[in-house]
């Protein structure tokens, strides 16, 4: 297979060799211990900062330093490869939370779906062993800068635990970044606009809520018991929630549901809550702030829920919440979510247009999701000491007309920007004698 032309920025023979190696190894470039130095371009740190004329050194999979070329001292000679990215941009890799990438291939073909498990209370279910690193979707999403996903089961009421994966790896063990980062709970939604009079549905919802809370309390008691007569896989899988090393991702949209969820689950002893969905989170701001609950918003490229909502209500939601001091990340959940995740950055672009501004918008898909899942110390922004997970792009990655990823690095390794679709593009351009772009 041949798919890499000589990039302009590769200036020495090493890089040619590297290209050769890359071609041989299909999709991986060997991790370099000799270090790469990037100079001259713009770094968007993911932490609200834009560094012009920036320099960045990476080595052993980590960012050594990143900052202004005029202030940072460094020794060029220590870098086997030096890339002048003047006129180009470096961004942290995007992190897609609440994703079914790796668990889903063709929506209409049942055999390719590993998302919904049978059963209602399935805390023991884990996405980790089902994550398919060879999904044909992965390279198409990665090309647009999504370098990490939270592979998330979705069935039942408690769906199971998600894990974080780099979108690069020989197998799931290899791609795994953090195992079992949190459990996912589909909190029962109240019906819309029903009066108390017609209470049957409301009663049903409240009964379901009570069942969940009872289950959580039992799980907690199980963990506290000094002697366990028998092992319960379900309860065992939930102990991290009470210790605080796992998060509970509560999926719900409506204000009434969010309110109940936060108040009841706090009461039941859950340490770290995250609201996923949050269509009406703007109506629960006080509560979200009080309990310091972050929100992973459902795909904001959607229509408003109600007829007389402002036409741009979902677009504005990230800004409304962020301005109120709530930690927000963007997800791309919904129809055709796996393949559509390649548009995650463009939803951030929309958030930028509708009140966030570009750097905050970037944060919604980089540092904020990293914080929400507790990996901010390792990745999520361009800062010294963090994983070298980043995008080198020709232009603004949040806008389709300028986004053009030239290089992608995961853990300091350069990964392939091409995919089967770009291969087909080449193949048919050759067939028709069209210029290869």
């Amino acid at each position: 297979m041949t798919f890499l032309t000589k990039p302009k920025t590769m200036k020495n023979k090493y890089s040619l060799l590297l290209v050769f190696l890359l071609i041989c190894s299909n999709s991986f470039i060997n991790a370099q211990s000799k270090g790469i130095l990037f100079t001259g371009g713009v770094i968007h740190t993911g932490n609200d900062k834009v560094i012009e004329n920036a320099v960045m050194g990476i080595r052993d999979g980590k960012i050594e330093f990143a900052g202004s070329g005029t202030t940072i001292k460094y020794d060029k000679r220590l870098y086997a490869e030096q890339i002048d990215f003047t006129g180009q941009h470096i961004y942290p890799g995007f992190i897609a939370l609440n994703s079914s990438i790796g668990l889903r291939e063709i929506d209409a073909v049942r055999a390719t779906l590993d998302v919904n498990e049978v059963g209602y209370l399935n805390p023991h279910i884990r996405s980790m062993p089902a994550f398919n690193t060879d999904s044909r979707i992965i390279p198409t999403v990665r090309s647009n800068g999504v370098l990490m996903v939270q592979a998330t089961p979705a069935g039942g009421i408690i769906s199971g635990s998600s894990s974080l994966f780099h979108l690069d790896g020989w197998n799931w063990e290899d791609a795994l970044f953090k195992a079992d980062d949190g459990l996912h709970l589909n909190w029962p939604e109240y019906p819309v606009a029903r009066a108390n009079k017609d209470s049957s549905k409301t009663d049903y919802i409240q009964k379901k809520q009570a069942e969940i809370i009872d289950f959580i309390k039992e799980a907690r008691a199980y963990g506290l018991a000094s002697e366990k007569k028998e092992i319960n896989l379900r309860f065992g899988a939930m102990q991290g929630l009470f210790k605080g090393n796992q998060r509970l991702f509560v999926h719900c949209q409506k204000a009434r549901s969010i309110t109940d969820a936060i108040l009841m689950l706090q009461e039941a002893g859950i340490k770290k809550l995250v609201i996923v969905g949050g269509a009406e989170a703007d109506q629960t701001i006080k509560l979200l702030r009080k309990f310091d609950v972050p929100v992973v918003l459902s795909r904001i490229h959607r229509l408003p829920d109600y007829e007389d909502d402002p036409i741009d209500k979902p677009f504005r939601l990230p800004a409304i919440l962020s301005d109120s001091g709530i930690m927000v990340a963007l997800s791309y959940d919904g129809d055709m979510e796996a393949m559509g995740t390649r548009n995650l950055a463009f939803t951030a672009g929309t958030a930028a247009t509708y009140g966030c501004g570009k750097e905050l918008a970037l944060k919604l898909i980089t540092l904020n999701p990293a914080k929400i899942v507790g990996i901010q110390a390792q990745t999520g922004s361009i800062e010294a000491g963090k994983n070298a997970d980043f995008i080198l792009s020709k232009g603004d990655v949040l806008d389709p007309i300028t986004a053009d990823s030239i290089k992608l690095f995961i853990g300091g390794k350069e990964v392939n920007t091409s995919n089967h679709q770009s291969e087909l593009n080449k193949k048919y351009r050759e067939k028709y004698g069209l210029p290869l772009k």
Binding site: A193, A195, R256, I401, Y432
Partner: protein
């Protein structure tokens, strides 16, 4: 309910009894040719005429005279203070009809579709039904029009009296009107499953009937078509399920020339501007919606604004129809409680309806429609003795129907021969003074009591001549009084005893001390708007406007103009819009000169902004009602999406907010040959017929692949042909072969072969013939290269052209072939992986096709993405490196070309329609917002008026919410809101929203 009304039926023999005609009598004959004389009544002989001082004589089934003196032989009925009205007539009733309908299995030479049974005749099936008859008569109704409310062509209806008579006698007109609907009802047949399919079936049936009338040697025997022709002259009562159905019915009435009465749903007033009082009349229901029980304000936002607005406007419909010159009758449909019925009649008047018009709408107008105006609907000598005696004037809050006479048959609802002894009474209970006021409507059981001047709680009951009252005193003790009512010295007296428990009963006499004080009636309060304050928004609901945006002279200057024409991009340029057209584009100074200074001009400084043509969506399913797929047959070319438009869809407004000005609304892709497209502009607020692009040519949807072979419909769907791409090919060969033969048949006839008979019109084959003639253009849903190639082969060999392949995700694989065939490609920017056949879809597809010289567009097939089509076009820049100017054409000029509307829209050129968008940024950019969207030179969307409309939404919602809460606080009935979630259609969607899925 204690009340059991004494049913007093006097059976009159009407006319002379002859053996064989009337049923034999079990017993001796009981002829009673008695004369009844109604005196002291206010007799409403007609809506504008009231007789006060005459006596109405009734003998048998007829009103015989109005006289000064009661004849000695007459039974006198004293109607002092009462009002007599002609019986009300209800046009929209299913009284007397059996549940059973004509079924396909019914024998006989009938129409092939079970929902089409114009041969059904209510008179053949009508049966007297005592219980519903009494319910109706309590409402004052004496005559109803019996409709078998099932199916699309429901047959002829009959006008019947509600008297308990042999059916032969109660039928007043055996074939009064024809009934139609848009619902197939109990029909087990799959076709039609959609609204558009239903209208197609109606249209075809009328054509069939026309042909049937003219056919000679080819004639078949078909009782359905025969019946349609027989009853051609009858007016049509067309049932409407929503406000816009009245417009659909009116369109059909125009097309086939029938006199239209819309059996309304109550929302018709919202579309009144679209209807012509000369052509449409109404039967209106008055079962107004109850207030919604609003508990949680946040979640009450789910209640559409239109639902809230309708709640307070519904009662003004009648007044508005009257004001606009429409004729209408009132139906009791949905109401069985007389209290509700009469209070709702009063609400009509309170909302501005003149009371005489109200009476006409209950009596003479329906009588005329039913063709029984010479005997019903008025009280005149010789007319039917069908009338009601009302305790008061009809509009009095206490009005109740006391008696309902139907064809001389008396039905009493109160024992009105019982004594009315309302008044004040006084007497002694031992040492205590007892005052009692018996009041309320006569014969009710209301009373007020005072003991020694102090109010006591009193429960009063009257039964026959006897009364009882239970008095609860302040000290918790109880006094029971009971006794009878007697007339003493021309006055009433209550005689009996009072029982204080623990003491011996004491005798009691309460003497009449005068009439009860006249009730000071509290003026009734309703939440309804008066017709004069009814402000119709266009459309009626969120983001509706009271006046539509007007065409203006607009000069936009200093802009970067993307012309999407040969002119390319103009920097710092101006554009002048006037009279709906683009007048000039160019440098500011050039364009300035073209301004018509005699008229106002709106100047917009667009420094830093971009201007583009309105975005055009080649593939959309918004703004359609009740199904986008008529997927029940593999060929439904007769179906027209224009019949199913929904101009109230909020997504029209949302598309405008994304700079989209026009779209092709397509039939779905459930079958190889789908329905005809509707090309519309997003003229938000106009009624649906005015959304259509009148100057556009015809288009039609075809489909290939997994949807048409039902691949993803479940494992049980394996029997409808076709199930493979092999079968799909044959569907097309078959259809076009038949269309060719059809054309030959018609052409031969046109050439005038001797003694030729006109061949039948087949709307399905007509549409296919139009394709063969190049007058109708195919948009074909397609994915993989094999099927795309196949259809081009079919087209080449059958002599037609595939105009556009839509979706065409593997277009890049056959781009050379597409080019050769001359087909256009309308694709998605980047969708794939949602089903097997899109596994090889690539986001470079559009760019490759474009570079191959194929006219290429991006479409949405999605209400949300539709409003971001500009950004989708930007993805051609990202993936395929398509130059920006060409990428923008993917959503402007190119779709216009495909839709053959590029002659007047899709690019910015002088003379083109002024469909123009002002963007805050590069129109392809994610950072661009449409700041103003102009359609036909009128600003249908702009950020400033959007803000105002949001405030308006908010204000209306708050006002009505408070009003509803006040209703609840005032003890008025409220109901829970049941939300029907809005359904968003995609291509392979078989959902029909009439099934109204609840959340």
């Amino acid at each position: 309910m204690k009340q059991i009304f004494t049913l007093c039926i006097l059976f009159f023999c009407l006319g002379s009894i002859r053996a064989q005609i009337n049923p034999p009598i079990n017993g001796v004959a009981d002829q009673r040719s008695i004369v009844f004389a109604f005196r002291n009544a206010n007799i409403h002989v007609g809506s504008n005429e009231l007789i006060k001082n005459k006596i109405m004589l009734v003998r048998g089934a007829k009103i015989t005279d109005f006289v000064e003196e009661v004849p000695p032989e007459a039974v006198e009925i004293d109607c002092n203070g009462m009002h007599i009205y002609p019986s009300f007539i209800d046009i929209s009733s299913s009284y007397g009809m059996n549940e059973k309908t004509t079924k396909r299995s019914d024998p006989g030479a009938r129409h092939w579709n079970m929902a089409v049974h114009p041969e059904f005749n209510s008179a053949d099936n009508f049966r007297y039904d005592a219980s519903p008859a009494e319910t109706l008569r309590k409402l004052g109704i004496g005559v109803v029009n019996c409709i078998q409310k099932d199916g699309i062509f429901r047959g002829t209806t009959c006008a019947v009296s509600l008297a308990n008579l042999p059916e032969t006698k109660s039928v007043l007109n055996p074939a009064a009107i024809q009934a139609l609907s848009l619902s197939k009802g109990s029909s087990q047949e799959e076709y039609p499953s959609s609204l558009a399919g239903t209208i197609a079936l109606i249209r075809q049936s009328f054509y069939d009937a026309k042909w049937y009338a003219s056919a000679k040697s080819n004639k078949q025997f078909n009782i359905s078509l025969q019946a349609l022709n027989t009853h051609k002259a009858l007016p049509v009562l067309f049932e409407a399920a929503n406000g816009q159905d009245a417009i659909r019915a009116a369109n059909l009435a125009d097309e086939f020339g029938f006199r239209l009465w819309v059996d309304g749903c109550g929302e018709e007033y919202q579309h009144i501007d679209a209807l012509n009082p000369q052509k449409v009349s109404f039967v209106i229901p008055i079962n107004f919606p109850e207030a919604i029980d609003i508990v949680d304000i946040r979640s009450s936002r789910a209640i559409p604004l239109s639902t809230l607005m309708h709640w307070e406007s519904a009662a003004a419909q009648a007044a508005l129809l009257h004001k606009r010159g429409f004729t209408f009758a009132i139906s009791s449909r949905g109401i069985s409680d007389p209290k509700v019925f009469f209070s709702n009649l009063r609400r009509l008047v309170a909302a501005g309806l003149p009371s005489n018009v109200l009476l006409d709408a209950l009596t003479s107008i329906p009588a005329t429609l039913l063709g029984i105006e010479s005997r019903c609907g008025k009280l005149q000598k010789g007319y039917d003795a069908s009338f009601v005696i009302c305790s008061d004037s009809l509009l009095h809050p206490n009005a109740t129907i006391l008696e309902n006479w139907s064809l001389g048959q008396r039905l009493k609802f109160d024992n009105s021969n019982q004594m009315n002894f309302n008044g004040r009474y006084k007497g002694m209970v031992g040492k205590d003074t007892l005052q009692l006021v018996v009041k309320g409507k006569p014969f009710s059981s209301e009373a007020l009591a005072k003991i020694n001047g102090e109010k006591a709680k009193c429960v009063f009951k009257i039964s026959g001549t006897q009364f009882s009252a239970r008095l609860s005193l302040k000290n918790d003790s109880i006094i029971l009084i009971q006794g009878n009512v007697q007339r003493e010295n021309n006055s009433w007296q209550l005689n009996g005893e009072a029982i204080k428990f623990g003491t011996a009963p004491v005798n009691l006499t309460l003497l009449y001390s005068g009439a009860e004080d006249a009730d000071t009636l509290k003026p009734e309060q309703w939440p309804d708007l008066h017709v004069d304050s009814l402000q119709l928004l266009h459309p009626f609901g969120s983001y509706g406007r009271s006046t539509l945006p007007q065409q203006e002279q607009i000069l936009i200057g200093n802009a970067k103009i993307w012309t999407c024409s040969e002119t390319g991009i103009l920097d710092k340029a101006s554009i002048l819009i006037d009279k709906g057209k683009i007048q000039a584009i160019g440098t500011d100074s050039e364009v300035q000169k073209r301004v018509d200074v005699s008229r106002p001009v709106r100047k917009i400084d667009a420094s830093g902004k971009h201007i583009s043509p309105g975005i055009i969506d080649e593939h959309s399913h918004i703004a359609l009602s009740r199904g986008v797929n008529e997927g029940t047959q593999n060929n439904t070319a007769e179906v027209r999406m224009r019949d199913a438009l929904n101009a109230q869809d909020i997504d029209i407004y949302r598309q405008l907010a994304g700079g989209v000005t026009a779209a092709q609304l397509l039939h779905g892709s459930a079958n190889p040959i789908g329905g005809q497209s509707a090309l519309i502009k997003f003229r938000w607020g106009k009624e649906f017929p005015h959304l259509l692009l009148d100057n556009a040519q015809g288009h039609i949807k075809f489909a290939l692949g997994e949807n048409v072979k039902q691949s993803n419909w479940g494992y049980d769907k394996t029997s409808r042909f076709p199930q493979t791409r092999m079968g799909v090919e044959q569907v097309f060969y078959d259809a076009f072969q038949r269309a060719k033969e059809y054309r030959i048949m018609h052409e031969t006839f046109k050439k005038g072969a001797k003694n030729a008979e006109p061949p039948a019109i087949d709307l399905e084959l007509e549409a296919l013939s139009e394709i063969l003639e190049g007058k109708r253009h195919i948009t074909c849903h397609s994915y993989v290269q094999s099927e795309i190639n196949m259809l081009m082969h079919v087209a080449d060999s059958m002599g037609f052209k595939v105009n556009t392949f839509t979706h065409i995700l593997e277009g890049y694989k056959v781009a050379d072939k597409l080019k050769k065939h001359g087909a256009n490609g309308s694709t998605f920017s980047d969708w794939w992986a949602y089903k097997w056949e899109v596994n090889d879809a690539i986001p470079y597809n559009g760019s490759i096709m474009n570079e191959m010289g194929i006219t290429t567009s991006f479409n949405s097939d999605d209400a949300e993405m539709g409003r971001r089509l500009n950004q989708e076009a930007g993805k051609a820049v990202l993936y395929g490196k398509t130059p920006e100017t060409e990428a923008l054409m993917f959503v402007t000029r190119n779709p216009a070309k495909m839709l053959k509307i590029d002659g007047f829209t899709g690019s910015l050129k002088p003379g083109n329609d002024a469909d123009v968008v002002i963007w805050s940024d590069n129109p392809l950019s994610v950072y661009a917002r449409a700041e103003m969207t102009i359609v036909d030179g009128a600003a249908y969307f702009d950020l400033e008026s959007d803000k105002q409309l949001q405030l308006q939404n908010e204000a209306i919602r708050n006002r009505i919410t408070e009003k509803m809460l006040r209703e609840k606080a005032g003890g008025k009935p409220v109901k829970a809101y049941k939300s029907g979630k809005k359904h968003y259609y995609t291509c392979d969607d078989l959902f029909n929203e009439t099934e109204n899925h609840e959340e």
